[in-house]
């Protein structure tokens, strides 16, 4: 691959991720609206929100770490997009691999924690401590799933994992061969998105959206962009590991939208867990299912 093609891919992959992520945010809001028997926001609503937030005329910063935190939060995901293979574009996925990706996925939350720290708002501090606790909770099943996948395919190279699954057809997809790990992965993915019922660290009525409490204007805009990337990254990673990646763009988009839509449709029906219940739930069920799945894989 020439340098030019690689540069183009590295530029295109985050851009595609942003556009698809905007559509996913819209889908989430529409799902929420339909469940509440509302019409929901118009087609370009997520874009209006982002443009409006960046177009604010006064931007209130709390210092240099506040600025850098947001850059880390968005930049961590942009780095993650270049490690995620999509149909026709591999970027640096073959060189990075699954372990690097898991590592990079922690950067945004840590960046957010740094940024919120400088805001010195007690609600923000409570929120970010809850968010990091939740991260500890869902990362355990996630790591088990990642370990099981790499053991099963004998590689941490995402392009190789996709190629192996596509060669075997739908019966050879990760979800068919390792159903227990797929279930554990889905629960961990859902928790990592920070949506109902795992949105204790946002809790608008209680701690005033936690980490976002002091964010206005372009800072909140950065977090909106981060959310787009987050939804895209989580769904593409799940599709890559369990649903055979994308044969072409149509199937790929269908799969990643379904991966987000299914847990979210269930999500809006439940109230949220408290932090300790969340940790208990995530360390009990997905970890248990994941460990059994891992035992079956390593048998």
């Amino acid at each position: 691959m020439s340098i030019g093609t690689l540069a183009l891919e590295l530029l295109l992959m985050p851009l595609v991720a942003f556009v698809v992520g905007l559509a996913m945010v819209l889908m989430l809001r529409r799902i929420g609206a339909r469940i509440q028997r509302r019409v929901g926001p118009p087609l370009l609503q997520p874009l209006y929100d982002v443009v409006k937030l960046y177009g604010k005329q006064t931007q209130i910063s709390h210092g240099i770490v506040h600025d850098i935190g947001i850059v880390m939060a968005v930049g961590g995901y942009i780095a993650a997009e270049t490690l995620l293979p999509v149909p026709g574009m591999d970027g640096i996925a073959a060189k990075g691999g699954l372990i690097t990706l898991v590592y990079v996925l922690m950067v945004p939350m840590l960046g957010l924690a740094l940024g919120v720290g400088q805001c010195a708002n007690p609600n923000g501090s409570i929120g970010i401590s809850r968010a990091l606790t939740a991260m500890l909770a869902y990362d355990i099943p996630f790591v088990i799933v990642v370990f099981g996948i790499s053991w099963h395919y004998g590689t941490t190279d995402l392009t190789r994992i996709i190629a192996l699954q596509q060669a075997a057809g739908p019966a050879g997809w990760g979800a068919a061969e390792m159903p227990l790990l797929a279930i554990a992965g889905l629960i961990a993915l859902h928790a990592s998105l920070g949506k109902q019922p795992f949105e204790i660290y946002v809790a608008p009525a209680e701690i005033a959206t936690g980490p976002m409490v002091e964010m206005g204007g372009k800072y909140l805009g950065g977090l909106f962009v981060m959310q787009c990337f987050q939804l895209y990254t989580a769904s593409v990673l799940y599709t890559t590991l369990f649903l055979g990646g994308g044969e072409n763009w149509i199937l790929f988009l269908l799969k990643i939208f379904a991966v987000v839509a299914i847990p979210m449709t269930l999500a809006y029906l439940f109230p949220r867990y408290r932090t300790e219940d969340l940790v208990r739930l995530l360390w009990k069920w997905p970890v248990l299912i994941g460990l059994v799945g891992l035992a079956l894989v390593m048998r």
């Binding site: 809001r29 609206a33 509440q36 028997r37 509302r38 019409v39 929901g40 926001p41 118009p42 370009l44 609503q45 874009l47 209006y48 929100d49 443009v51 409006k52 177009g55 604010k56 005329q57 006064t58 931007q59 209130i60 910063s61 709390h62 210092g63 010195a120 608008p204 009525a205 005033a208 959206t209 976002m212 409490v213 002091e214 964010m215 206005g216 204007g217 909140l220």
Partner: protein, 230 residues
């Protein structure tokens, strides 16, 4: 303000050389009008008309209006009913923390002229003496249809660039501060340095400084960060 290390950024006010500047302005104004985050600081009975306006019957999210919980994130401050003097202090603190462009909507007749609290000694009669109000929605209380009609009017104002009363707060700060001091006493002070902001954004007018701001600057104490205690 130095102790808190809060600084405020603004694009440099240089002549617009970009040929597409007007197009961008138009786009941003359109997006502003179609995406309004409202902080409903629920002061009075009018707040009860907002849940129906937001939920399935009338669904404000169709218009891009959604509730937000902190002033930093919000664009619109809804004052939904009478403001007692104690409440008004909080409303002003909240308003000054919002990032511009920000809009104030007074709902219910109490914000227009005091309404049924006209004879109350503890209620602010006219909201627009203390804050720049973009829009009033009169009624006791206005129904959700009226609220949404009012919102649509605000959207039209934002799209045409007429909703700039937030600048008025900077330009005529002395007058607003004078009314606030009349109500709260001469030692009234908010955490936000409005005069500093006005100078920073070059929004100072002939009435930004005056006798009332001079009074403020006499006793103004710099803010200190809150002490963390367990």
């Amino acid at each position: 303000m130095k102790e808190l290390d809060v600084r405020i950024e603004t694009p440099e006010q240089r002549p617009r050389s970009n040929p597409l500047a007007r197009v961008f302005d138009e786009l941003v104004r359109f997006c502003r009008s179609r995406s309004m985050f409202m902080l409903h600081y629920c002061t009075g009975c009018g707040a009860i008309e907002l849940p129906p306006a937001m939920t399935s019957r009338f669904d404000m999210e169709r218009l891009g209006i959604q509730p937000m919980v902190t002033p930093r994130q919000a664009d619109i401050l809804l004052i939904t009913g009478y403001v007692s003097i104690k409440t008004l202090k909080r409303v002003i603190l909240t308003y000054e923390q919002m990032s511009a462009p920000k809009y104030v909507i007074g709902i219910c007749s109490c914000t227009v002229n005091g309404g049924m609290y006209w004879q109350s000694y503890a209620t602010a009669k006219r909201l627009d003496q203390y804050l720049p109000v973009d829009l009033y929605i009169a009624g006791c209380m206005p129904r959700p249809e009226a609220v949404i009609t009012g919102m649509r009017e605000l959207m039209a104002k934002i799209r045409d660039g007429r909703a700039d009363s937030w600048q008025d707060y900077y330009r005529r700060y002395d007058w607003y501060l004078g009314n606030q001091q009349h109500l709260f006493g001469d030692d009234w002070q908010t955490p936000t340095d409005v005069i500093g902001e006005a100078e920073h954004y070059r929004l100072t007018g002939p009435e930004t400084l005056g006798e009332h701001t001079a009074l403020l600057q006499q006793h103004q104490k710099p803010l200190e960060p809150l002490k963390l205690q367990l």
